[in-house]
């Protein structure tokens, strides 16, 4: 999929702007928290034998709008 030129130009402005910020600034501003149903609920430790098993769990258990599945 080819991006529209105006979109690409906007992206490049973002990238150049970010490049002027230090790693410290970028990390301090990039990690935010918003509550995500199920993921931010107990249990707070989850492990899966395979990535496929995790993907199936995510598709089954997480609200579709979180985007962890293959379609909304």
């Amino acid at each position: 999929m080819k991006l529209r030129k105006d979109l690409t130009n906007t992206f490049v402005c973002d990238f150049e702007s970010a490049a002027r910020r230090s790693l410290k600034e970028r990390l301090n501003y990039s990690f935010i928290h918003t509550y995500k149903p199920v993921l931010d609920d107990p249990p707070y430790f989850r492990s899966f034998r395979t990535i496929s098993e995790y993907r199936r769990w995510a598709e089954k258990k997480l609200p579709a709008w979180l985007g962890y599945g293959k379609k909304i």
Partner: protein, 155 residues
């Protein structure tokens, strides 16, 4: 309860992982952000080498970073699971031992970069992994991530 990850914690993680000789790479959007990609994310994704030895070192390192892992939780990491999600520590972390689209840790590390002491997957590997995962959230972010890759490679 989710906690925010910040620069100080990134440096601390790298310091403690190095002390314990953990073999790992930052991956996912957190990896892309370290490479310079302007975006937001909620947790840290780490791609560690999946060996019994490395898993033991990860457990030791996480305990030193004050992750309150129970004996059972430590066993789960030592068992060699492909994906471990921890939300009980000073920050949220996912241990992704077998990310989609990446053949092996050794291949990834040969292509990796280091940013101020933080070892990160190459932007191409981050993109490959997201393409292979085929999730809606990744499909949405891929065009911008690819534009970033193209811009980064031209620099």
């Amino acid at each position: 309860m989710a906690k925010r990850f910040d620069y100080r914690q990134a440096i601390e993680l790298a310091k403690v992982f190095k002390k314990h000789n953990v073999k790992y790479l930052f991956i996912g959007k957190s990896g892309a952000i370290i490479l310079g990609y302007p975006d937001t994310t909620q947790d840290v994704d780490i791609f560690p080498e999946k060996t019994p030895e490395n898993c033991k070192k990860i457990v030791s390192a996480l305990l030193e970073l004050k992750f309150p892992l129970t004996k059972t939780e430590q066993e789960e990491i030592l068992k060699g699971k492909d994906f471990v999600q921890i939300r009980t520590g000073p920050f949220d972390i996912d241990l992704v031992f077998a990310p989609d689209g990446i053949e092996s840790f050794n291949d990834a590390i040969s292509r990796s970069v280091e940013v101020e002491g933080l070892p990160v997957c190459s932007i191409n590997d981050i993109i490959k992994s997201k393409e292979a995962a085929k999730r809606v959230r990744d499909k949405e972010s891929l065009p911008r991530l690819k534009a970033f890759r193209d811009w980064l490679l031209k620099r």
